[in-house]
């Protein structure tokens, strides 16, 4: 097998792997046996081009699709779900952290974020109450 054919085959296998969504023990086992089948086919038919291999075994997308459809791997779906959940949790954590930083930053600004105004209003109310209390006593 010449080098360019070997390289093209490696690319073909890589493409199939990329369509298998997640790496599981079963998909790794499948890829090992698939590669062995391709080598058997190459040997038996004296194949010299990757196009002939693709013609016999199919496009990478079709191979992966057939595997995923037949396997109906509950745990593949589960792993994809776990992956998505982790992604959502990480995104939520990042958003919370970003919001916290933004609020903290606004808090450091002089009279920023409306907090100063609220404090002044509270002081005014206290003064009025005090005046009222004094007045009532008198």
């Amino acid at each position: 097998m010449d080098k360019s054919f070997e390289r093209a085959l490696k690319k073909y296998y890589k493409e199939i792997r990329s369509f298998l969504i997640v790496r599981t023990r079963e998909s790794q086992k499948f890829m090992a046996e698939f590669c062995s089948s391709v080598e058997d086919y190459i040997e038996a038919n004296k194949i010299q081009t990757v196009d002939a291999v693709k013609e016999h075994f199919g496009a990478p997308e079709e191979i992966a699709k057939a595997f995923l459809e037949t396997a109906q791997l509950g745990y593949i779906r589960k792993r994809v779900r776990i992956k998505n959940t982790i992604l959502i949790i990480m995104l939520a954590a990042f958003l919370s952290w970003f919001t916290y930083l933004t609020i903290a930053f606004i808090g450091t600004l002089p009279n920023g974020g409306g907090y100063g105004v609220e404090t002044i209003m509270d002081s005014a109310e206290t003064t009025t109450d005090e005046n009222f209390v004094i007045g009532d006593t008198a």
């Binding site: 038996a44 079709e62 595997f67 459809e69």
Partner: protein, 115 residues
């Protein structure tokens, strides 16, 4: 090829794989190649379809596997049928023949030859 053909095939794939292994230990490429040869190219089975079925049968204990070194670094995995697998094959074959007869009866094809 129409999708229903794939659906028909999917229903009997397990039966055919077990049948192949009843005839002797085989490796993946040997099984797909045998399908192609015995059906004169009319029944092809993609590797992506075959291997998950083999794994499922192996997990269920119907078949088992062993590896044989081929050449310098390659390992070839052979599948062999177990007693439980033979029983499963016989039960599946019985049910397949029964269903096939019923379908032929419904379609009014009894006594007619195929084609």
């Amino acid at each position: 090829m129409e999708k229903y053909v794939d659906d028909f095939k999917r229903g009997v794939t397990e039966l055919l794989v077990l049948h192949m292994l009843c005839e002797g230990d085989k490796y993946g490429y040997e099984i797909t190649h045998a399908f192609e040869e015995l059906s004169n190219g009319l029944y092809t089975m993609a590797e992506g379809t075959l291997y998950p079925i083999l794994y499922k049968l192996e997990d269920a204990g119907y078949i088992s596997s062993y590896s044989v070194k081929v050449g310098v670094r390659r390992m070839r995995k052979f599948y062999t049928i177990e007693k439980k697998g033979k029983e499963r094959y016989e039960a599946m074959l019985r049910d397949y023949l029964l269903i096939s007869d019923v379908i032929r009866h419904i379609l009014g094809l009894e006594g007619k030859t195929d084609g």
